[in-house]
Symmetry: C2
Subunit: 230 residues, 2 copies
DNA sequence: CGCCGCCTTGACTCCCTTCAATGCGAGTGG
DNA sequence: CCACTCGCATTGAAGGGAGTCAAGGCGGCG
């Protein structure tokens, strides 16, 4: 869901190597700058004036809030094609930081918004995309509010798998701490659950960052993704 | 936040007794039907074909998902002026049910979407509104993922207070079960926290449904609303 | 080799859930 | 007017799952 699946039409149309309507696309492309980031580098910090928005060209970016007690809540991980950094406010509502080495395209916020509202079709796309994001945010709320640690981790691994096109071996780009901060758990709990999933034969691991899901159907049962069915 | 505060421009412009641009407004009003609901009546059920969207004229409506194990996650309570029932999908993603006696206006979904995208200004409003909702959903995710029971209840009470314009006495329209289902807690925990807040002098209660916050500042410290500050 | 950051594992604690019983107020019928 | 009942709310006791604190383990890199 993080990349391909989540790419709403809005992103697709302005996605890399995918510009059907090059005329409209060029409006954006013309004003796009490129920036490279090393792991840990920040694109923007919560509260800063939001002058730009971004699109991932390569790598993974995390977006998070820092709570007063120092804990972090990672709201999302962005990868290839994802656009981020826009909100209803004039300030950034999150902090964005590179997880891996990254390349991002940078658009002036105003330019992007003008482009987004330029035509009825564009507006429609943006609206649909926002509704999808809203839906996803609500699903995440259900996950955080209702699922236990095992379900959260299993769901997370399934999403990772989807993002990468269900390969044999899944690459986990982010640290255990990042996973914990995303799932509302502690790093220790994430580790313990992974160990348990390994012992019970759900997954295999090749080092800490390479993983394979052995029995996707059984995982499905744990994760209950889209489990809000009646 | 549930009513006045949350009313994005999109809602305000089409809100009751507040139609500045009556011409545009009439497009909607002309196609609006009215329906009255008793507590517990449903407007729509998750998975149904989404043919209408709704606006609260009076009363409170809850919107929730039912999980496979029968638990419910209430995503939101809607009151005066709030519009709900639209999504990116052709099916409703939630179930909507009256909490109190309610009156709602009903719009055909297509009519509403046409209206929403009719002009650049309208689109802008819808986009802004959706971004605000997204932001709120993310805050709720943080609440569910990171706050303990006391913080969640305190935050909920503050929101209720805001909605009602910070009166001396707050009316709690929904049941303890509804509150629990909204906050990701059990009914017992909600009760215990309320009792504790009462004993420690934060609140007073006059029956189960009337409440007053005695020391808003101290409550603020518990709740940490918008606690995502650096 | 040895350091350093990240990951893993263990023991203990605590908050919330679960299960169960009781309280309470509104509506009903005797 | 009172007894009864029914739904909702409250309180208590016990258990479990995740957090906390602490101690290694592992791998990359100088």
């Amino acid at each position: 869901m993080l990349t391909a699946q989540r790419l709403g039409d809005a992103e697709l149309s302005s996605s890399l190597h995918n510009a059907k309507n090059a005329a409209e696309e060029s409006i954006l492309a013309a004003s796009a700058a490129i920036r490279k980031l090393a792991p840990g580098e920040t694109l923007y910090i919560e509260g800063e004036l939001a002058i730009s928005c971004f699109q991932v060209v390569s790598g993974v970016v995390k977006e998070y809030n820092t709570l007063i007690d120092g804990r972090r809540q990672i709201t999302d991980f962005y990868s290839l094609g994802n656009i981020f950094g826009i909100s209803e406010a004039d300030e950034y509502l999150h902090t964005a930081e590179a997880v891996t080495n990254c390349v991002v395209r940078i658009f002036p916020r105003d330019t992007y918004l003008q482009y987004a509202l330029a035509s009825r079709e564009q507006s429609q796309k943006i609206v649909t995309d926002l509704m999808t994001r809203l839906h996803r945010a609500e699903e995440r709320a259900i996950m955080l509010g209702r699922m236990n640690a095992r379900q959260r981790v299993a769901t997370f691994l399934q999403r990772l798998s989807e993002d990468q096109g269900h390969p044999q071996k899944i690459r986990i780009s982010m640290s255990r701490q990042d996973i914990a901060d995303h799932l509302g758990l502690t790093i220790e709990t994430v580790c313990r659950v992974l160990t348990e999933l390994k012992k019970t034969g759900y997954i295999d691991m090749d080092g800490a960052r390479i993983l394979s899901i052995k029995e996707p159907e059984r995982m499905e049962n744990i994760a209950c993704v889209g489990s809000t069915m009646l």
